[in-house]
Every structure is written in C-alpha cells, then in structure tokens.
Amino acid sequence: MKSMEKTQGKIGIKEFVAIILLTVGTKLSDNTPNILYEDIANAAWLSIFLICLIWLIPLVLLIKLNTLYKDKNLIEIIQHLFGKYLGFAILFICWFMQTYVMFYNSVIYPDIIKTMYFNNTPLLVIALVLMAVTSFGAMKGLESIGSTAWITLIVIKISLIMVLVITFLQGEMDFIYPLLGEGGWKLIKESYNNSSIFTEFLYIFFIASSIKNTKVFTKGLWIGYIFVSIEFILALVGYVMIFDYYGIRLLDYPYHETIRYIQLGFLTNVELFFFPFWIVASFIRLSFYLYLSALLFGALFKIKQFQYIVPTLATISVFLGLIPQSITFSIDYLREIFLQIITPFVLSLPLILWITAKLKGELKK
C-alpha cells in the first residue's frame, strides 16, 4: 500500500511553482520593464540574463542554509543566527521593504487599470476593489493562494504565450540591435543596480517551511527561477521588437501597450481578451505580497493569527497610495531609487547568513 501523503497546511510543488511564476512573472507586465528600458534601452533582456546570473550565488547559499535547517524558514533562520536584537532589526528591514513594495504595487496596479482600461472610473474605487479581493485572498492563507495560483496558472500562461507568439510574429527582429544597447559597462552596472527585481526569490524562503519538504522546495525554486527568467527575457525582447529602441523608453507599461498594438485576425482590439488573465494574475500576486507582509509583521511582533493584520495593511495601503500626485512619474522615480538602495542588502544578506552559520560552526553538522 502506498503511503498517503498529508497535505494539510503544506503546499505541493505545483502550487509553489505557480506562486513563483505569478509573483515574479507578473512583473514583466507592470512597469518593471520600463525601469530597465530607461536605463539600458533595448539591451534590457540581456540585463535580465545578467541579473539571473548574479542571483545564482545568493540562491545557492540560501538553499544550502534551507537544507541545513530543514524545519525552519528564513524567519527562524535569521532569528537563530543573528540573535534576538539583530535578527529583529534585519527582519524589520525585510518587512519594511516588503510592505513598501506592496504599498507601491497597490498604487501602480490601479494606475495601470485606470490609465489603460477604465479611464472614467475613480482611482480610489479601483484601488478599493483591488485591495478587497487581495485581502480576501491573503486572509485565506498560503494554501489557498497556492491553489488559486495553480488553478489559474495554465490559462494565464497560455494567454501570455499567445501574446509573445503574436509579438514575435508581428514585430521586427532587427529592432533588437545594437545588442548591448548603450554599451557593455553600463549594462553590467545597471543590471547590478536593478537586480533587486528578483528580491521575491529571497522572500520565497520565508515560506519555506510551508512547502511539503526541502527537496520539493529546492526543485520548485529552480523550476520557477528558470521559467521566470526565460519568460522575462522573451517578453523584453518582444516589446523591443514591437516598439524599437526609442519608442520603448517612452512607454510606462509596455505589456499593455503591446496587447493594444497587436492584432488577432479579424479582431483588431484584443487587449481585453488578455486583460482578464493579467488582472487575475495581479490579484494573486498582490495577495501573496499582502500575506508575506502580514507574515513578517506577525513574526516581528509575535502575533500568531497574523492574517487578521491583512485588512489593516490593505486599508493603509489604499490610502497611502492616494497621496502621490501624478503617479507614474513620482512613483517610478521612487521605485528606481528604492531598487538601487536595497540591492546591496538583498544580495549580501544570504552571504552574511551563510558566513554567520559557518562561523558558528553549524555548517559541519
């Protein structure tokens, strides 16, 4: 008789990969590509390749630590290695970064929806609906987020693949030259500066103990990592093939401009056939962000039933999001600075953790 697997409270590999694909993968359809294009023009896709390489070392280190402390997630590992006070400080920084990103996204997504699809609807209403759905999801917990991600993943990715295929068919291959964009050195520098785009891969370790086992976690992480990188690169190449070197830097939301631009046989305006899939992905992505934010907050202040913080966080983020005027400019600028500030921190944290573990002599066990 085969052993029966208990999945109670733990998520399997499918759900885990789905979470990674939707949280990191959806970034290619917000304003993240825009930041890359602004700095390094059409070579943005190469920079994703570089970012991918840069992240290899931190990821390997984190996986090592995760395999070492089997039942612990990154929160507990940090508390264990850094002690009470330093651990608190680092977790607080992590929480702050996460919450900032969440606030930021709860501004940017309503803005995308408003500017691209619902010009007449007030921003506040859009944001309220968005946060209501995402907090509903976040309160249901990680298992539900994972399951929802898995159920919707296939259609979301099919719609993305369709967009990419059409883009490649209707775009100009020549537009991707010059390959290095504004030059090799700038490419490397900006790739490093923006490599915190993949910060989610660090945050994924905060839920490591909710995955079925370490093996599944490691496998799922690599699958997600490779898949996300490939789709990111393809998407960035695709946008350039449509809009070219100069045009691409003027766009705020390249994905949405792309689905407006492409045609599908007799249908000339196809963006609304892709919009629902994108918005479902965004709901799930923001739910996961909210969940992470609440999880870290709960860990910091020892709140066991942390899901009850979700509505508060969501409400605050809606109202904070209303403060900045002229969203796309001010927020874009803020985000670029933010990405550059946190890069050294997120890249060095795994290394510091690993060194601390080594110094404490725990790696030999």
């Binding site: 697997e5 399997g12 759900e15 609304l272 056939f273 709901f283």
Partner: protein
C-alpha cells in the same frame, strides 16, 4: 408524561392487563387500523392476543403463518417459535420496545401467563416498484433508480457489490418519529475517522422528525449556508456503488428515492455516470461540452453587459454597428435588459416545473417563444439579448446535478451585477474571489477542488477522465484503507 412512564415499564403476566395498556396507548377503538386478535391456543391451553397495524403489515401472512397454526395446534410440547411459520424476530418485555416493533409493521403476540411478547416479521409497506431514473438520465448503462423503500434500495446496491465487506448500519436519528437512517460503506475501504465523524454528527442530532434525506442534508452539512453543495444526492444505484467502491459513505433512508454521498467534491457534482459508460473519446467530449456550458452559463450575460457598457472597442465594428442599431430603440440600459430576460427565463423554468404534467412542455415552449419574440417586437429587449439569455439558460441544463445547477444559476446573477459595476474588472475580481473561496472550502474535511489542488494520489478524474486502465487509485483525499484499485487483497 404519564405515557412516558408507562412506556418505560415492562409488561406483566396478566394478559388482560397488558392488552388494556396497549389499547389505551393506541387509542383503540378510536384508532381504526390497529388490529387486536384474541385467540385460544389449543395445544398449550392458553389465551393469546396478537397486535399489529393492518395498513403496514401483511394480513395474509399474519393469518396464514401466525393465527392459523396457533389455532390448529394440538401439540403441547412445541414452543411458540416452532408453531408459527412467520419469521420470529425476538422477545421483548419493555413496552417501548414492543411499541417500536409494532409501529414498524411487525406483529406482537402476547401469551397469558408470560411477561414477554413474541415478535414476528410481517412488514409490508406500500410503495412503488423500481423504476427508471428520471432526474439523472443516461443513454447507456443501467436505468434503474432508487425508490422510497429502503430495503429495495439496499438490495439494488447489494446486487452490484457481492461482498461481505459491504456494511449497512442503521441508526435512529429522530426522537419522535423514530426515523431510521442506514449508513452504507465498505468496511475494508472507508476511512475510520471519517466514518466516526459522520456517526458522531448523526448521533448528535436532536430533532423530533426527519422525514427524508433531503431534509437530513441540511442538518449534517458543515456549511449549510454556502452557495455550493457539500453532499451529493443521487438517485442512481450504480453511481452510489461506484462511490462506495472508492471509499465514500452513502446514506439511505426510507421514503427517500435517493442516496446521499459524502464527502463530496466539486468534481462529484460536475461528473455524470455516463462519462464512464461512453467510450473514452465520447465521454471526454461530453465532459468538454459540460465544461463549456458551465463557462457559458456563468459568463455570457456578464460579458455582454461588460462589453456593451465598458469595452465597446473589443467588439468588431460591423457587429457593433448591428448591435447598436437594434439597441437604439430600446429605452433600458443593458443590465435591465439582461435582468428582465434572465428573470423571465428563471420564471418559465420554475413555473414549467410546477405546471401539471400534460400541459407543462407546451407552456414552457410557448411561453419562451412568445415572450422572446414579443419582447423584441415591443422594443423591450434587443434580439441579441434573447440569444444570449437563451444560450445561458440552455447551457445551465448541461450541468446535471440539481444542487450545482442552482449554485451556477445564482452565481451567474452575481457576475451580471459585477459586470454592470466594473466591467471585466468586476468579473475577474469576483472570479478570483470565487476561486479563493472554492479552494479553501471543505466538505467533511475534504478540500472541494481535490485532487486538482491540493494534490492527492487519485485517478485524476477531474475535468477530463483517464482511460479506465489508468484509473488505478482510489481518491487519496478520502484516506481510504486501501488506495490501489487493482491490488489483489482478497
């Protein structure tokens, strides 16, 4: 409470006294269908009295197999059990126990000088015979359906599972009417914890009467206010059996022409036994159709409203011109149009069901045709809306299960409202909430969308079915004692 005290007493050896007690309990002679027969047993040289209820017992059997042998007996060595040919059940001395047996159609025989009653099986309830399934029609496969007689239902199940591990346990679930419920399961498959949970739940019921399974359903459901059903009700014995063989639990009851299957997942409502009776390709084809129908029912009206109100640019311009030309003369916004027709359709559907049989179909068709045509001519709705509502109404019939059918019909209205408020944004918001809700929803501890997510070992019978040869496992979410179907464990 004088009666209660009386019922808890035991009978004494004085026959006349005993009969008086029973006469008063049954209000004889006011109560006309209680039969009290006094007789004298020659061989034993004793007076005796037989009590039964005429309308629920087999009077011929009582006459031939109990009364006549007793009257004609001359042998003094024989015991009562030996004299009577009818099946002897038991002896009881407590009044309450005897009453229960008589109320169930058995015959109680009292002997002068003995402080106990002999009980004989003479049950004969009236009911219909086994007939064709009417609500869950299938073209291939067995046609017989459950009826109101639980003995016949159990026999239909036993006919398909000739195995000693099939257990039919009975529980009395109501205090006053003493309704009996039968828990049916495979002893060597069912998960013991699940079985215990179900039994605990049944034993904790504190109600006067539960007439049938349809009523019981609400009492034992975890989330009876939810829009989604958590217990499957089926009138097909073949379907019940296939669930039993997977380790599910079935509940049967007298007066219920169906069985309740628990726990139930979304897929058990979505499936139809015919999917497996048809060839692999055909079976999956109808699954695909059903899935499409489900999506069309849920979304088509909402899409129309969203497209007309918010996303006009997505409609090809020729079609858009045609739509706006027909909508030009209509004074209502799209939502009113759709709601008018949707509600009209729901009304026709409900009324068509309640109309007496011979005129039912006529009224339905005429009502729908006339209402649709006339509404367009009167410029109340546009022709496209009639098509859309007819399509969504028609498609809703493809989901066979009554409960899921209701869920989908209701959710369709939610989608219509969300589309009217926020277009596609509203539809997707509601859809995402719905998925979040569904994945966290449980029926007797089993995730509603299992085994799709969370994953369990199973035959992967979800949207599409696999080849029968590949359906090797029982559903893992039930945690059955034996998960492999092919394993030889006899």
């Amino acid at each position: 409470m004088e009666e209660e005290i009386l019922k808890n007493k035991t009978i004494d050896s004085d026959l006349e006294n005993t009969i008086d007690i029973f006469k008063s309990l049954y209000s004889v002679p006011m109560n006309t269908d209680v039969s009290i027969r006094n007789l004298f047993i020659g061989g034993l040289n004793r007076n005796a009295t037989a009590i039964s209820i005429k309308t629920i017992s087999d009077s011929e059997k009582i006459e031939e197999q109990i009364i006549r042998p007793l009257l004609s007996n001359s042998d003094s060595d024989l015991t009562i059990e030996d004299i009577c040919a009818a099946q002897f059940l038991n002896t009881h001395s407590q009044i309450q126990e005897i009453l229960k047996d008589i109320n169930n159609g058995n015959t109680a025989l009292f002997l002068d000088g003995e402080n106990k009653a002999y009980l004989f099986d003479t049950v004969k309830f009236h009911g219909r015979s086994v007939e064709k399934a009417i609500n869950e029609v299938s073209l291939r496969g067995p046609k017989e359906a459950f009826n109101e007689d639980v003995a016949a239902n159990i026999s239909l199940i036993r006919k398909k599972i000739r195995n000693e591990n099939l257990v039919v346990e009975s529980v009395t679930i109501s205090k006053r009417s003493n309704n009996e419920l039968y828990i049916v399961y495979m002893k060597d498959l069912v998960n013991d914890k699940l079985l215990k949970d179900v039994k605990d739940k049944l034993n904790s019921l504190d109600v006067n009467a539960i007439q049938n399974l349809s009523v019981l359903e609400e009492y034992i459901e975890d989330s009876s206010k939810s829009i989604f059903p958590t217990i499957l009700s089926t009138e097909r014995p073949d379907r019940t059996v296939s669930f039993l063989e997977d380790g599910y639990i079935a509940l049967l009851m007298n007066n219920s022409p169906d069985s309740l299957i628990l726990p139930a997942t979304f897929w058990s409502f979505y499936h139809n036994p015919e999917d497996h009776y048809l060839r692999f390709v055909f079976g999956n084809f109808i699954r695909l159709l059903r899935f499409l129908a489900l999506l069309i029912t849920l979304f088509v009206s909402a899409f129309y409203i969203a497209a007309i109100n918010y996303h006009v640019e997505m409609i090809p311009s020729d079609l858009l011109l045609a739509i706006s030309a027909t909508r030009e003369v209509i004074p209502f916004p799209a939502i009113i149009e759709i709601l008018l027709m949707e509600i009209a359709f729901e009304l026709i559907r409900e009324a068509g069901l309640r109309v007496p049989n011979p005129i039912g179909p006529t009224i339905g068709i005429v009502g729908a045709l006339i209402l649709g045509q006339a509404a367009v001519d009167a410029n109340i709705v546009s022709p496209l809306v009639v098509i859309i509502v007819a399509l969504s109404g028609l498609c809703s019939f493809a989901v066979g299960d009554i409960s899921l059918n209701f869920s989908i019909r209701l959710i369709r209205f939610l989608f219509i409202f969300s589309a009217a408020l926020f277009g596609f944004y509203g539809i997707t918001a509601l859809f995402t909430c719905g998925i979040f809700y569904l994945v966290s929803f449980r029926s007797f501890g089993v995730p509603y969308l299992a085994p799709m997510t969370p994953k369990y070992i199973s035959s992967k019978d979800t949207i599409f079915r696999k080849m029968l040869k590949k359906e090797l496992y029982r559903p893992g979410y039930l945690k059955p004692q034996d998960i492999e179907k092919k394993k030889d464990n006899s």
